[in-house]
């Protein structure tokens, strides 16, 4: 094993680390706020839904509407929880994957692009859950989901997926090239 075969890990750019840390901080603040303001948040969402009965398909019969409101409130809460979980996890994913990219990609342009995609995608994607939750009272479950999907999940999720496959492809190419370049024993 030579020094060239075993590259030392390189720290990604500072702005990437800052975004990742901010994502984790946002996740923690979000999680804490969810617990601290649970009643207020639920009341706000419920009032918002009751103010728009047609949006949520409320029929004016308590026995029926109760279940509709319960499901919407469950999803509202799930959105907040998923934001907390994803922002926390994606913060770590940004750090790990951008460190891999900074270490193993020799081309400056490709490295910068992949790191930018990983960082924006990773930090933006969890915000979709927050957007979804916030839109549920005004737009209903399905419409809010569609908006969050096209506004946040699809663009930011795609950026992350493209960057990760690109990174995986470059790694595979590097492995193949290295094997070919090595003289047969």
């Amino acid at each position: 094993m030579t020094e060239a075969d075993s590259p030392t890990w390189r720290v990604p750019p500072r702005w990437v680390l800052l975004v990742a840390v901010l994502s984790i901080v946002a996740a923690e603040v979000g999680g804490g706020s969810m617990a601290r303001f649970k009643v207020e948040l639920t009341r706000w969402a419920r009032d918002g839904m009751l103010a728009r009965p047609a949006v949520h398909g409320l029929v004016g019969v308590r026995d029926v509407d109760e279940r509709i409101l319960d499901e919407a409130l469950f999803k509202f809460d799930a959105g907040l929880r998923l934001f907390h979980m994803h922002a926390e996890g994606m913060g770590l994913v940004i750090i790990a994957t951008s460190m891999v990219a900074a270490t193993v990609i020799p081309s400056g342009a490709a490295r910068r692009t992949i790191i930018a995609l990983l960082t924006t995608g990773g930090a933006g994607y969890p915000v979709g859950y927050l957007v979804w939750s916030a839109l549920i009272p005004s737009f209903g479950l399905e419409r809010a989901k569609t908006i969050a999907e096209w506004l946040v999940w699809v663009p930011f999720g795609s950026a992350t997926i493209v960057a990760l496959w690109w990174l995986a492809g470059l790694l595979a190419w590097a492995m193949i090239s290295r094997r070919r370049a090595r003289p047969a024993a």
Partner: protein, 213 residues
């Protein structure tokens, strides 16, 4: 050995790629009991365990009784007092009969209200299907609690309600195999049948203090 870090890196990258691809999972909702069905189950299980004092306390303070009062206008006269008297006397079958009447009345009222809302000329077919589905869910949530009690007293009524419910469900289920969706207007007939069968059951049960089987 020189490939180990690269392989590990590739594994990490592949693993993290899978996560966003299978994302947009937004939680699975499982409908819960509401306050009335929860209280019903508490009272029922206490009666089955012959803990009538517990059942009476749960009934007195619970939402079941409050709901009986709220629906007093559409319920047989004296249903609440009779239920309390049966609990005080430790008469399990009588408690069951009265609770069956109560839930049958709730289901009948829901079926009538659903029929009324589906008859609105301004609603679209999609709205009718959506409204019908929601009412059927509520109807089944209540009827399911007392179906056994209904069947032991009037098996024909139980079968009739189940058949009508099954028929109603065909109008709110999405069409499969490229078939045209059923006309939601057809949903009204089984709902009317549910209301009619349960009205008859309530009338017959309200005048019969004991099971006849």
């Amino acid at each position: 050995m020189s490939l180990v870090p690269t392989i590990l890196t590739a594994l990490v990258v592949t693993a993290t790629t899978i996560a966003p691809a299978s994302a947009h999972h937004v939680g699975a909702y499982v409908p819960k009991d509401n306050a009335v069905t929860t209280n019903f189950k508490q009272v029922k299980f206490s009666v089955q365990a012959s803990k009538f004092d517990v059942a009476l306390r749960l009934f007195e303070a619970g939402p079941l009784r409050a709901e009986m009062r709220a629906h007093a206008a559409t319920l047989p006269a004296g249903l609440e007092d009779g239920t309390r008297a049966a609990l005080t006397a430790g008469d399990g079958p009588e408690v069951e009969r009265r609770l069956m009447i109560f839930f049958a009345a709730l289901v009948r009222d829901l079926a009538l209200e659903a029929d009324h809302q589906l008859a609105r000329p301004d609603s679209t077919a999609e709205t009718r299907v959506d409204t019908g589905r929601k009412f059927l869910e509520a109807i089944w949530r209540y009827y399911n609690l007392v179906d056994f009690a209904v069947a032991t007293r009037d098996n024909k009524a139980s079968v009739a309600v189940r058949l009508a419910f099954d028929e109603a469900e065909t109008y709110v289920k999405p069409a499969t195999g490229g078939a045209a969706p059923a006309d939601p207007a057809g949903l009204r007939k089984p709902l009317q049948r549910i209301a009619q069968v349960l009205s008859t059951l309530i009338d017959a049960s309200s005048t019969t203090p004991r099971r006849n089987s």
